[in-house]
Structures are given as C-alpha cells and as structure tokens.
C-alpha cells in the first residue's frame, strides 16, 4: 500500500480555513486544478456518503465519495470511486489543527492506495505535489503562508 503525506502552515485561524475547505462540492472555489464539481442525486454536500463528480482543468473526470466529515475535529475523509489514475482503494483525509500560539492552521493531507509497484513513485509524487501541495499553495496565496 502506497502512502502520501503532505503538511503545511496556513496563515489564518483554523475556523476560517475550515469554512473554505469543508464544502465537499467546493473544490473549484479554492483548488486551481479543479474546473467544476457537482454532487450526485441532489444530496447536500455535507451528507456523509454523498458523491462528488468533478472535472480537472486537464479534462479528466473523477468521482469521489465522502466517508467522514467532522466540524469538531475539522477533518474530511473520502474515497475515489472512478478516476483515470491507475490505482485502487484510494482513501484520503484532509485535516486542520489550530496552531494556538500563532492563530494559524496546521494542515495535513494524506492518502493511502494500492497500485502497481512500478507506478508507485510517480503516483505518490504527482498526488503529493500537484493535488495536495498545489491546494496548500493556493490556500497560502488566499490566506497567507
């Protein structure tokens, strides 16, 4: 099983960052790689079990299902249902934790998945750099780093 872990510091209180990222249908509002998103079956975006169908600026399409959402612990866990990437059993978590002495946010994004051994390094680097760190860099531009 492959694992990706990326973490950073966002220059705003965790409640403000959480208000931006908790919307499971809101990736196009803050992630530069996401073009459009919708929730299937007209479900609310904070209904655990709901499915988001979204497309990247590259044209690739993905479907992901919300597995867990906590406004108390400020995390969101989801699984990939369909994607063009050669991987299976992909489960990811985005988590925020307050940094109490700075009024800033410690942000972590991690994923576990299965793939062919020869593709692992490329997938780990691509997800970690383009998806996770790319999202963090956009949040740092919006809120300060």
């Amino acid at each position: 099983m492959a694992r990706v872990y990326v973490s950073s510091v966002i220059g705003a209180p965790a409640a403000k960052v959480w208000a931006r990222v908790r919307d499971f249908n809101g990736l196009p509002n803050w992630h530069p790689r996401i073009a459009e998103s919708r929730i299937e079956n007209g479900d609310p975006a904070d209904k655990v079990g709901c499915i988001r169908a979204f497309s990247l600026r590259s044209g690739d399409r993905l479907r992901e299902q919300l597995l867990g959402l906590s406004d108390y612990d400020m995390f969101c866990t989801y699984a990939i249902l369909d994607s063009p990437m050669p991987l299976t059993n992909y489960v990811a978590t985005l988590r925020l934790t307050p940094i109490t002495d700075l009024e800033r946010t410690f942000i972590e994004w991690s994923a576990d998945f299965d793939c062919a051994p020869e593709q692992e390094a490329e997938l780990v680097a691509g997800i970690g750099t383009n998806v996770f760190q790319g999202g963090f860099d956009a949040l740092k531009r919006a809120f300060g780093g």
Partner: protein, 150 residues
C-alpha cells in the same frame, strides 16, 4: 473538566525535535520549572509504565507515569500521580507531526483534568502557560535546535 491545548511550529526537523522530547527523564535539561528529574526503580525512561519524579525549582515534588510512547506516531502520554497542585485525573498527550512544506515540526500538547470547584480557569492557565508555553519556548531556544529548519 478543563481541556488545555497549546500548539506551535518549531523551526527544526521533526526527528530532531522528537529525539529531545521522547526522553521522559529529560525535562530537567530544558524545562525552566523542573530542577531535577529521575526515573524510579532505575527503569529506562522509555519503558512504558515507568514513573518520573520531578523536583521543581520551588522545591516541591511531583510524580508522573508514562502511559504511552510511540516512536512511529511520535506521541507520548502521561498522568500525574502525586502533585502539590490540586490537579486530579490529569492525563496529558504530546504529539509531533512533520511540516513537509519547509521541513519544520508541528508540536501539540494537551491535557484534561479536574480541579477543586471554582479553580478551573486558574489551573488551566497555570498548566497551559507556565508548563506548556514556557516549556515550548525553552525548547525553541535549545542550541541543538537553533539554526535548523527552513
């Protein structure tokens, strides 16, 4: 039941910070309120269940027991056994996480406890500011961590 949380970013790689914090008998090297520390019965300080005896700078003593230690998760937890301060059912957790964006460390220190009625805020401030924040600031100034990080 008071819940005290202090967290910070330390400008040093997480394995270096963990090598300092994981020593359950090492707080007298860095914490300004701890004058002396020893582990009872000559146990190793990474033996889960071991008990440390602190002598504080004001001369008082306290005993704490190691409940959890994980080098994989970079966490430890401990409870107070005997203390001159009226903190009851005190359990604290320390965890470190890497900040991969900059090779820094996130340090989270929290506890829950009960107190005599009416003293919750006073004792929560004592634990959070005197113990945790002062400890964090002392570690930040340690020469072995200075000049590390970004």
């Amino acid at each position: 039941m008071p819940h005290v949380v202090r967290s910070t970013i330390i400008e040093a790689p997480v394995d270096r910070l963990w090598s300092i914090l994981r020593d359950f008998n090492g707080h007298d090297h860095w914490h300004p309120i701890v004058a002396r520390s020893e582990i009872e019965r000559a146990n190793p300080s990474d033996r889960v269940g071991c008990i440390r005896r602190f002598q504080l700078r004001d001369g008082s003593e306290l005993r704490e027991q190691l409940l959890t230690l994980s080098d994989l998760e970079m966490t430890f937890s401990y409870c107070l056994l005997d203390t001159p301060i009226p903190l009851f059912n005190y359990v604290a957790h320390v965890r470190l996480l890497p900040v991969t964006d900059g090779n820094r460390s996130f340090w989270h220190w929290e506890s829950r406890f009960t107190t005599p009625p009416g003293r919750e805020a006073e004792l929560a401030r004592l634990v959070g500011d005197e113990v945790y924040t002062n400890g964090i600031e002392a570690v930040r100034r340690l020469p072995e961590l200075a000049g590390e990080g970004v």
